[in-house]
C-alpha cells in the first residue's frame, strides 16, 4: 500500500485514468481546433452583412447604449484576461507535491477577499455608474417630442396610429428625422415587444398597461424592427419598418395617408375589383376608408399599395406576393388569422388591380 491507500495495481489503473502530466498531443490538437474555430468565427464576422445591428446605431438612444456596451466590453475583457491568467499561473507554476507552506503567497483569506470581492466591487461601481448615467440620459429626450404615435401589437402584426393627424397604417412607423417622437405602446391581445435594434432597446406592449418609448433617427432610412416577446405561433413573422424621412417628406406622407381611398373610374378593372372586395369576407376584418369596408380585426388597407411589405415584414409588397398571400396565407404564415380567399383567376386579377390602386 502506498500513500494513497491503493495497491500497485490500482495505482496503475489510476495513472491510466488521470493520464499524462501535461495536456498531451490530443489536447494540443484540441487547442488548435479551438483557435481555428475562433478564427473561423472572426472570418464569419467579417463576411457577415448584418442588416440591423445593435452595434451600428442610427439614433441617439441606441448610440448611448452602444457606448455603454463598449465600456463594459473593455472592462469584461480585462477581467477575463486577469482571472484566466491567475488561474493558469496557479496551475502551472510551483513544484509538484510541495507542502502547503511552500505554495506561494496568494493563498490566504485576504487574497480571496481582495480578488473576489473588493476589486470586483470597484469595477462594478464603474459599471453601475455608467448604467445610471445612461439610464438618466435615456429617460427623457433632449427636447419635447413633437409627435405621438400609438402602436398596438396584435397577433401577428402592428397597428400604427397617428391620433393627432388622423392617420392609420400598419407594420410601418414613419417618423421625421432629427427629432424625438413618442410611441405609446398598447397591448391588444397578448404581450409583444417592440424592438428596432439600430434605434432603441425594446419595450413591451402589455394588455392593460400603456408603455411609452421615445425614439429618434439621425438620418433618413429604413430601420427594421420586430417583435421580441414570444407571442404565439407566428412570433417569428412579426416585423415592421421604421421609416425615417426628412420632415418635409414626412409631412407629405402624412397628408397622403390622411386621404380616403380614391373613387375608382367607372367600369374599370379597379372598379370591378372594388366590387369583389366589398362583396367578399375581406370587409369583416379590413377597413378601406372611403368605402363601406370597416372591419377592425386586420390591418387598415386604405393605402395598402404604399407600404413596403406584406404580412408584417414577411413578404415584399408586390403583385405576385399579394396574390399568393390572398390565395394561400396559411402556407406563407401558418397560423396567422387571415383565411384563404377562394376566387376565380379573373376575379383575383380584378381584386389585385383594386388593391394595388390603394396608394
Amino acid at each position: 500500500m502506498n500513500r494513497w491507500g491503493m495497491s500497485t495495481q490500482q495505482r496503475r489503473a489510476y495513472e491510466r485514468v488521470r493520464g499524462g502530466r501535461s495536456f498531451g498531443a490530443g489536447a494540443k490538437a484540441a487547442v488548435l481546433g479551438l483557435v481555428l474555430a475562433i478564427a473561423g468565427f472572426a472570418f464569419t464576422v467579417r463576411l457577415g452583412r448584418a442588416e440591423t445591428s445593435v452595434l451600428d446605431p442610427a439614433g441617439p438612444r441606441a448610440a448611448r447604449i452602444a457606448e455603454l456596451w463598449w465600456v463594459m466590453f473593455a472592462l469584461g475583457i480585462a477581467v477575463f484576461v486577469v482571472v484566466m491568467g491567475l488561474l493558469l499561473v496557479a496551475i502551472f507554476r510551483g513544484k509538484r507535491g510541495s507542502d502547503t507552506e511552500e505554495r506561494g503567497p496568494f493563498t490566504g483569506t485576504g487574497f480571496v477577499a481582495l480578488g473576489g470581492a473588493v476589486i470586483p466591487f470597484l469595477i462594478l461601481m464603474i459599471v453601475f455608474g455608467a448604467t445610471l448615467w445612461t439610464l438618466i440620459a435615456l429617460a427623457e429626450p433632449e427636447g419635447p417630442p413633437g409627435l405621438t404615435i400609438e402602436v398596438a401589437g396584435h397577433q401577428f402584426w402592428w397597428e400604427v396610429r397617428y391620433p393627432d393627424q388622423d392617420v392609420v397604417t400598419a407594420n410601418e412607423i414613419h417618423i421625421p428625422t432629427g427629432q424625438p417622437v413618442e410611441l405609446k405602446l398598447i397591448g391588444a391581445d397578448v404581450i409583444h415587444s417592440l424592438w428596432v435594434p439600430q434605434l432603441s432597446g425594446k419595450l413591451d406592449l402589455i394588455p392593460g398597461k400603456t408603455n411609452t418609448l421615445w425614439l429618434e433617427a439621425d438620418e433618413p432610412g429604413e430601420y427594421r424592427g420586430q417583435c421580441a416577446e414570444f407571442c404565439g405561433i407566428q412570433h417569428a413573422h412579426m416585423a415592421f419598418l421604421v421609416i425615417a424621412q426628412p420632415p418635409n417628406e414626412f409631412a407629405e406622407w402624412l397628408d397622403a395617408q390622411r386621404e380616403p381611398s380614391d373613387e375608382p373610374a367607372p367600369d374599370s378593372v379597379v372598379e370591378r375589383g372594388e366590387q369583389i372586395f366589398l362583396g367578399s369576407a375581406c370587409v369583416y376584418c379590413h377597413t378601406v376608408r372611403g368605402t363601406n369596408a370597416s372591419g377592425e380585426l386586420g390591418p387598415d388597407l386604405t393605402h395598402l399599395a404604399s407600404r413596403r411589405t406584406l404580412a408584417a415584414g414577411t413578404l415584399e409588397n408586390n403583385l405576385g406576393n399579394l396574390a399568393g398571400w390572398i390565395v394561400d396565407p396559411q402556407s406563407i404564415k401558418p397560423g396567422n388569422k387571415m383565411p384563404a380567399t377562394n376566387l376565380g383567376s379573373e376575379e383575383l386579377q380584378d381584386l389585385l388591380a383594386y388593391l394595388m390602386s390603394l396608394r
Partner: protein, 633 residues
C-alpha cells in the same frame, strides 16, 4: 464504545427486500439517488435531442424542417425539461447520494420521503412527455406568460399539462429539500461541527433552503393559471381586473433563485474536486461558506432583471440592477478561493480537473455577460435575443453541467467501484468544450445583429445565417462530446479498472468506505475532528496509511434489526440520540400515485381532485401505520 457490529447483521438489516415489490419499496438513499440521477440524465438526453432538432431548423434562413407549432413545443419542452426535469433533480440526486456519505450517516433522515419524491418526479416528468399523445405538448415557453397561455389564446391541453405537472413536480423538489436540510442539521457524524462540514454539503444546504422558499411561488403561480384556465378565475385576466405582470413577478421570484439553485451545488462540486486535486484544504473556507449563504439571500432580490423591458419605473429597476451586479461578489469569492487553493500546487490534470478548468473558462465569461445584462439600458437591447441565450447557456452549461460531468468522473468510481476511462474522458471533454464555444460564442453576435429568441425561422436579410450554421455545427460537437461520456459510463460500468476505496487520495468521508458503498454506508459511524478526516493533521496534505478501517467512531449495533444511525446536535454535532430510520415500504409509491391522481386527474375531470385527496389520505395512513416491533417499546 459498543462492539463493532457484524457486517452480516448490518447487511441483513439494510438490504432491500427481494423481488419486484422489493425494488419498488426501496428507500435507501443511494438507490433512490441513483434513480434520480439516471432518470434526470434520460430527460437531459431527450431535451438535448430537442435542442439538436431546433438547431437543424435554424441552420439556415427559412428552413422548413419543423412546423412553427412543432418548434414552439420543442423549445418549451427543452427549457422546461432542462430546468425542471434535469438540472434540479440531477443535482438533488447527487446531493442525496453524497450527503449521508460525506457527513457519516447511514441514510437520509426520512428515507421513505426520499422514495416518495422520486416517484412524484418520475410521474410528473412522464406526464409532461405523454402530453403530445393527448393533443399537443406545452407551447407557451418554459416561462409560460399569460395572456398567451390563457384559455383564449392557448385553448389546447398542452398548457394544462404544464401547469398541473409543474405544480405536482415541485412537491418532489420540496420534500427532497426538507429532508436534505434535516439530514444535514441532525445526522452529521459526531464532531462534525458546522465549521467542519464539507463545502459540497454546505452548498446543498443552501440550495435546499432556496428550494424551500422559491418553489412555492411557482406552484402558486401555476395553480392560479390552472384555475384561470379550468374554472374561470381572473388572476391574469386584464378584462376582469387581473394582471399579466403578476405572473411575471411570481414566476421570476421563483425563476431567478432557480438559476442559483442549479449553480450552488455545482460550486460545491468544484470546491470538492479542487481541494482533492490541489491536495490541500480549500482556502478561505469561512468566506466561501458565507458567500454561498449570501448567494442564497441575494438571489431572491434579483427577479426584476427579467422584467427590465416591461416598463416598470426606472428608479425601482435600478435597485434590482445593483443587486444583480452585487451577486457577482460572492461568486468572485468562490473563484478566487479556488485559485488560491490551486496556487502553486501543480494539480494533476485528471479528467475531473479538466471539466473544472473548462468550467472556469466558460463560467467567467458567462459571469461577465451576466453583469452586462444586469445593466438596464444594455439589457433593453439584448433582452430576449440570442445574446441572452448565449449568456445563460454559458452560466448554466458552464456553471452546472461542466461541474456535474467533472463530478461524474470524480464520483463514478465511488458509486460503481470502477474508474471511468481517462482517454475517452479527455475526448469527451475537449469535444464538448470546443463544441460549446462554437455553438454559443457566435450567439452573442447573432443577438447583436437582431435575432430575437423563440423564432422558428429568420429572414435571409438579417444576415445571421452563417452564425447560425456555426452554432448548429457546434451543437453536434457538444452532443458527441456528452455522448462519449455516456459511452464511457456504459463501458466502464462493467469493464472499468477497479477503483478501490479512494482512487483520488481525497480527504472527505465518502472515500473511507468501500466502492461501491455497502447499503449501511458505515460499519462504524466515524468521529470527526477536522474538515478532511481522511487526511493527516489539519492543513496538511494526505497522511500516509489512511485505510478504510482507520477512522474510529461510534459503533451502533442494529437493534432488533432496525436501521439506526447517529443523531447529533445542530451546531457542534455532539452525539445526541440514536435514531431509528424508516425501512422499505411500498406506500411512498402508492401515495405518489394518489397525489398524482389529484393533479393529473384534473386534466380529465375536476372530480379526480376529491377522489385523489381521499386516496392520498388512505395512502398516508398506510405509510404511517405503526409496525408491530415499534409498539414493543
Amino acid at each position: 464504545m459498543a462492539a463493532i457490529p457484524a457486517i452480516q447483521t448490518l447487511t441483513r438489516t439494510w438490504q432491500r427486500p427481494a423481488g419486484i415489490i422489493g425494488w419498488l419499496s426501496q428507500v435507501n438513499h443511494k438507490a433512490v439517488a441513483t434513480r434520480f440521477v439516471v432518470t434526470a440524465l434520460v430527460f437531459f438526453v431527450l431535451a438535448g435531442i430537442g435542442a439538436l432538432t431546433m438547431r437543424v431548423q435554424l441552420a439556415q434562413p427559412n428552413l422548413n424542417v419543423l412546423t412553427p407549432n412543432a418548434y414552439n413545443q420543442l423549445f418549451t419542452m427543452h427549457g422546461t425539461t432542462m430546468m425542471f426535469l434535469f438540472a434540479i433533480p440531477v443535482l438533488e440526486g447527487v446531493g442525496m447520494y453524497l450527503v449521508p456519505l460525506m457527513i457519516g450517516a447511514r441514510d437520509m433522515a426520512f428515507p421513505r420521503l426520499n422514495a416518495f419524491g422520486y416517484w412524484v418526479f418520475l410521474l410528473a416528468g412522464v406526464s409532461l412527455y405523454i402530453s403530445p399523445f393527448f393533443g399537443n405538448a406545452p407551447d407557451g415557453g418554459w416561462f409560460n406568460y399569460p395572456p398567451l397561455t390563457s384559455e383564449d389564446y392557448s385553448p389546447g391541453i398542452g398548457i394544462d399539462f404544464w401547469t398541473t405537472s409543474i405544480t405536482f413536480l415541485e412537491i418532489a423538489a420540496l420534500v427532497a429539500a426538507v429532508e436534505l436540510i434535516v439530514t444535514i442539521f441532525k445526522l452529521r457524524a459526531p464532531g462534525m461541527s458546522l465549521n467542519r462540514v464539507p463545502l459540497f454539503v454546505w452548498a446543498i444546504l443552501v440550495t435546499s433552503f432556496m428550494i424551500v422558499f422559491a418553489m412555492p411561488t411557482v406552484m402558486l403561480a401555476s395553480v392560479f393559471l390552472a384555475l384561470d384556465r379550468m374554472i374561470g378565475t381572473h388572476f391574469f385576466d386584464v378584462a376582469a381586473g387581473g394582471d399579466p405582470l403578476l405572473w411575471q413577478h411570481l414566476f421570476w421570484i421563483f425563476g431567478h433563485p432557480e438559476v442559483y439553485i442549479i449553480l450552488v451545488p455545482a460550486l460545491g462540486i468544484i470546491s470538492t474536486i479542487v481541494s482533492t486535486f490541489a491536495r490541500r484544504p480549500n482556502a478561505a473556507y469561512t468566506l466561501v461558506v458565507l458567500s454561498l449563504v449570501s448567494i442564497g439571500f441575494l438571489s431572491f432580490g434579483l427577479w426584476v432583471h427579467h422584467m427590465f423591458t416591461t416598463g416598470l419605473p426606472w428608479l425601482g429597476m435600478s435597485f434590482f440592477a445593483a443587486a444583480s451586479m452585487m451577486v457577482t461578489l460572492p461568486s468572485g469569492i468562490q473563484v478566487f478561493s479556488w485559485i488560491a487553493t490551486l496556487w502553486g500546487t501543480r494539480p494533476r490534470l485528471a479528467t475531473p480537473m479538466l471539466w473544472i478548468l473548462g468550467f472556469f473558462f466558460i463560467f467567467v465569461l458567462g459571469g461577465i455577460s451576466g453583469v452586462m445584462v444586469g445593466s438596464i439600458p444594455f439589457d433593453e437591447q439584448v433582452h430576449d435575443t440570442y445574446f441572452v441565450v448565449a449568456h445563460f447557456h454559458y452560466v448554466l452549461i458552464g456553471g452546472a453541467v461542466f461541474p456535474l460531468f467533472g463530478g461524474i468522473y470524480y464520483w463514478f468510481p465511488k458509486v460503481t467501484g470502477r474508474l471511468l476511462s481517462g482517454t475517452l474522458g479527455k475526448w469527451s471533454f475537449w469535444l464538448t468544450f470546443i463544441g460549446f464555444n462554437t455553438t454559443f460564442l457566435p450567439m452573442h453576435l447573432t443577438g447583436f445583429w437582431g435575432m430575437p429568441r423563440r423564432y422558428y425561422t429568420y429572414p435571409t436579410e438579417l444576415g445571421v445565417g452563417d452564425l447560425n450554421l456555426l452554432s448548429t455545427v457546434g451543437a453536434f460537437l457538444v452532443a458527441t462530446g456528452f455522448g462519449l461520456t455516456f459511452v464511457n459510463m456504459f463501458a466502464s460500468f462493467r469493464n472499468g479498472a477497479e477503483a478501490g476505496p479512494n482512487p483520488w487520495g481525497a480527504g472527505t468521508l465518502e472515500w473511507s468506505v468501500p466502492s461501491p458503498p455497502p447499503p449501511y454506508n458505515f460499519q462504524v459511524i466515524p468521529a470527526v475532528d477536522n474538515r478532511f478526516p481522511l487526511w493527516g493533521p489539519a492543513q496538511r496534505g494526505p497522511a500516509p496509511d489512511v485505510g478504510t478501517a482507520a477512522v474510529s467512531g461510534v459503533a451502533l449495533e442494529p437493534e432488533a434489526e432496525r436501521r439506526v444511525t447517529a443523531g447529533t446536535e445542530l451546531l457542534d454535532a455532539d452525539l445526541d440520540a440514536k435514531l431509528v430510520l424508516a425501512g422499505p415500504s411500498i406506500w411512498p409509491l402508492l401515495l405518489a400515485i394518489a397525489v398524482g391522481t389529484i393533479f393529473l386527474g384534473a386534466l380529465v375531470s375536476l372530480w379526480f381532485v376529491p377522489v385523489g385527496a381521499v386516496l392520498s389520505y388512505i395512502a398516508a395512513i398506510g405509510w404511517l401505520w405503526p409496525r408491530k416491533t415499534e409498539w414493543d417499546e
